[in-house]
């Protein structure tokens, strides 16, 4: 029996949503407002939060800064992130197809291993991987930034769960036409999983773009830095003195993330719940 909700209850709900929304949005709004202030001015009081004049030139100033190669950071981030996303979608789709559709010896044990590495990567592997990179002389190169990231247990798991939900009758039909597993994987299963690939691709983009610890260790020369590490350098060299330029740099780092997020977010609800209990 659907009851008619009273107007007061509805108003209270909307007000609560607005208040939480304000709480979530406020830091972002402030960040943009401060980024538009005149550089090296002191921080504003409440009444002066909206700058009298918007200094959009802060953005070009940060991008073309002579002492910190921000454009180079941007290039490094774009290169590393896009190569990793493409490699992961390829390698993880293949593995996910194998775990979802094919029978082979050791499959269950290997999949258990995938699940375990998915959950406890992190702090413990960083030092050994650093030493491995050093012994093959890859430190301070794109190899060190890219190769450790080209596959991910999380994406194997995520894609496998989607692949399992595709009706088997689809590949049986292709199989009767003589298609190999390779063909079925790339022309039946993967094309029907566009939402899954978009989710996996977007999550990978966020994770790699915002990764901080690994690029901090893996490369040392300034021209090899990614944007995320570059931003921390920026903060250190301006150490709390030039807030407008710091915030401008932060907005530049966040903007690509927000764009990808808005483009891919309709797939997310499924993606996030996929890895959880039913």
């Amino acid at each position: 029996m659907p009851r008619k909700e009273s107007a007061t209850k509805s108003a209270a709900l909307h007000l609560t949503a607005l208040l939480i929304g304000l709480f979530v949005a406020a830091p972002f709004v402030l960040m943009v407002l401060i980024s538009l202030r005149e550089p090296s001015t002191s921080l504003p009081q409440f009444s002066e939060l909206i700058p009298e004049q918007a200094h959009w030139e802060n953005y070009s100033q940060v991008l073309f800064m002579p002492e910190i190669p921000v454009l180079r950071f941007l290039f490094n981030s774009l290169l590393v992130t896009s190569v990793i996303v493409i490699c992961q979608l390829f390698i993880c789709s293949l593995a996910a197809y194998a775990f979802a559709r094919m029978v082979f010896r050791g499959r269950n044990q290997l999949f258990l291993l995938v699940l375990m590495t998915m959950m406890f990567a992190g702090t413990v592997t960083q030092l050994p991987v650093f030493l491995m990179m050093r012994s093959v002389n890859w430190l301070d190169t794109y190899w060190a930034l890219i190769i450790p990231g080209i596959s991910s247990s999380f994406n194997i798991f995520l894609l496998r769960q989607f692949f399992l939900q595709i009706p088997k009758s689809m590949d049986e039909a292709a199989r009767l036409d003589g298609a190999s597993d390779w063909r079925i994987c790339w022309s039946v299963v993967v094309p029907t999983s566009k939402a899954a690939l978009a989710t996996a691709g977007a999550f990978t983009f966020f994770a790699v773009w915002t990764d901080f610890f690994w690029p901090l260790l893996a490369v040392s020369s300034i021209r090899m830095r990614t944007l995320e590490v570059g931003l921390s350098i920026f903060k250190n060299s301006y150490g709390g003195t030039n807030w407008p330029l710091q915030m401008t740099a932060a907005v530049i780092v966040l903007l690509p993330l927000v764009i990808v997020f808005l483009a891919a977010q309709k797939f997310f609800v499924r993606g996030v719940t996929m890895g959880s209990v039913k």
Partner: protein
């Protein structure tokens, strides 16, 4: 069927090889390293067996960092879960622009941790920071240095973590709420149950698996928090926010004690492993439900 099938191991091989090289072998290598006193830049490498672990047992600053991580986890995980459940309950009501709010609430979770840390340093600044300005508006002092007061620094990080982690947990709870059969709610309403009673006796118990999942995954993340501490407090003031992930970083990369750092990371690994096994158990029952584990 007589159709020739390819061996699946070839399909999985690149991923499996990568996993061996970048996850399995490094874990073994870290264990090996933890048996040495090793300072590579000083050129010193000496087998000490369990010596590093024995030293850690009596290293009060390491245990202080474990304690800090535990406090952070125990405070931020339940508060974060409660906030997410609240937001999910709100957004599953009849609400205009629910999609807009969902997107907005999710936004912090995808953002750069460094950018977010810079933002929150500003929010917590004395005098000109957002919170202190607001306090001044209502006539309070506005001089509180949130990140430099031992008691407040930890609370400030917890508060920020709730803001950051709201979205993904909220989505999980929304999915959980949508799985609750509508008949249950209607039946209890016919029995005259109030909203609070319904929440306690129907919603909360049926969300049990979701809550467990949220708690375990966010505990694993909370135990390993690094970037905000690196940016905002550097473990201070007076070790008040020195959490284990950051402590290990300093041991390895500032003090260059690789052996000790490896042993410390193994202790953290053991803690995370226990949490992971709980998570794995939960996921296994779900995988079996899908008939393919």
């Amino acid at each position: 069927m007589s159709i020739k099938r390819q061996n699946g191991l070839w399909f999985a091989a690149p991923a499996v090889l990568h996993m061996l090289v970048f996850a399995v072998i490094p874990i073994g290598y870290a264990l090996y390293l933890s048996f040495f006193k090793w300072r590579p830049l000083v050129g010193e490498m000496e087998f000490v067996g369990l010596g590093a672990y024995a030293k850690i047992l009596s290293d009060s600053s390491f245990w202080k960092s474990i304690w800090n991580s535990s406090v952070f986890t125990v405070a931020s995980v339940p508060l974060g879960a409660a906030a997410a459940l609240g937001a999910a309950l709100l957004l599953t009501q009849r609400l205009k622009a629910a999609g807009f709010f969902r997107t907005l609430f999710y936004l912090p979770a995808i953002c750069s941790q460094i950018a977010i840390s810079m933002m929150w340093i500003y929010i917590y600044l004395p005098k000109t920071g957002l919170i202190n300005m607001s306090l001044q508006m209502v006539g309070l002092s506005g001089e509180t240095d949130f990140l430099n007061e031992p008691k407040l620094a930890m609370a400030s990080l917890v508060f920020m973590s709730i803001w950051v982690g709201l979205g993904p947990k909220m989505i999980l709870y929304m999915a959980g709420l949508m799985n609750i059969p509508q008949e249950l709610n209607e039946a209890s309403e016919l029995d005259g149950a109030g909203p609070w009673y319904k929440f306690r006796k129907i919603t909360l118990p049926l969300l049990g698996p979701t809550t467990l999942f949220v708690i375990v995954t966010s505990s694993i993340a909370a135990m390993q928090i690094f970037a905000p501490i690196y940016m905002m407090t550097k473990g201070g003031p007076d070790q008040a926010t020195d959490m284990v992930g950051y402590h290990i970083y300093v041991e390895a990369w500032a003090k260059l004690n690789f052996g000790t750092a490896a042993a410390q990371s193994f202790i953290l690994f053991a803690v995370v492993l226990v949490l992971s096994l709980v998570q794995l158990r939960m996921m296994k029952s779900q995988l079996e439900g899908w008939g393919a584990a």
